[in-house]
Symmetry: C2
Subunit: 212 residues, 2 copies
């Protein structure tokens, strides 16, 4: 790798992408709203129809990695769907600031068998950071199945502790970001951020102002 | 048609589907929130990737028709996408009552050339009910195109009046509903509503309680 490329790669990580800095700012201005971290995640089902559900944003993967993280149950339908088609788009609306982000990319599901040690550590870290109620749900009966009248005990298992290992059903969902759009309803501005890979192999985010 | 079928068909329209009645109740309980009518609409792009964006719910098509309605600009990317693949899923989160609805079905775009007179009337009715600011946007430069520095006049055309005919760019978006899921985060209940066509041809909505 040429020196220029190395410098650019390092510089790329010293500088937070504009869109990530904007999301941090939006989160800060909307933090009094309980649902400011709720986003809608769209994927494509195996029959080619879209699926859309609300999920909780669990933070960026790391200071150096701009992937968004969520959690899911290994028994949920979306795990199979993502295995067949990893493409996803998040819609994230911030009520206080009246902004929308659309974040497109590809999903990676990190389950108990994932061999990537950095992702496995992120999975454990996210598990530990969840509430007791959040961790307890991963011991519940299979999501989406007909609800059985019997066996109330199945819903009342004690929650695993934050230091207990994640249940096998617990998956980290990682969105590798390819493109971001921000729409500001107050000012009628709209910006698109896309990956710009330079001839030397370094990557930067290109910003474009587009019509709302 | 046998008498039993006629009675069932009529009864079907005298009775509002449970899921529609639930949405009315949720809208009522959340109406103090400015964004309670904002929903996320997922579709599939022509390259097979999902698209997801926030749109405003403009009401049910009529007392007798449970389709959801939205509006869009004929020049927006989703109009082409829907022509290729009409499948859609709405995610609708109500912050006050902590409920999510997922509403799956097929989209119909009603543009200025649509021949269906009932849908054309609905398009005009929706246009008239919009705010001046909402109607004005349909005269703006093409959405998604690079924003030109010149020509501030393009953004300042006076809004058409509520009694003026809809601009040609104005489209009504109709979601023909196939399946609905309601998730209640407070009580951890989840219900699925699906079309149940009986042997005599009449239709009813089947309700199923499923695991959250």
């Amino acid at each position: 790798m040429a020196l220029a490329a190395e410098v650019a790669a390092v510089a790329g990580r010293l500088t937070t992408p504009i869109w990530r800095a904007k999301i941090h700012k939006s989160l800060s201005k909307n933090k009094h709203l309980a649902n400011s971290r709720y986003v809608q995640l769209a994927t494509v089902r195996e029959d080619g129809r879209p699926a859309n559900r609300t999920v909780v944003f669990r933070g960026f993967l790391s200071d150096d990695d701009d992937s968004l993280t969520f959690v899911t149950d290994s028994r949920s339908r979306k795990v199979q769907e993502v295995a067949a088609n990893p493409a996803a788009e998040v819609a994230w609306y911030f009520p206080q600031t009246r902004e929308q982000y659309r974040i497109a990319g590809n999903l990676v599901i990190v389950d108990s068998a994932s061999a990537d040690s950095a992702l496995q550590q992120a999975r454990t870290r996210t598990w530990s950071a969840m509430s007791d109620g959040g961790r307890q749900q991963f011991g519940w009966p299979q999501p989406g199945r007909p609800r059985a009248a019997e066996d109330p005990e199945a819903w009342n298992q004690p929650a695993p502790g934050s230091q207990d290992p994640p249940l096998d059903t617990f998956c980290l969902v990682v969105l590798r970001v390819e493109e971001v759009e921000q729409l500001l309803l107050r000012s009628n501005e709209r910006f698109r951020y896309s990956r710009d890979v330079k001839q030397d192999g370094s990557m930067a985010w290109a910003e474009e102002s587009i019509n709302p």
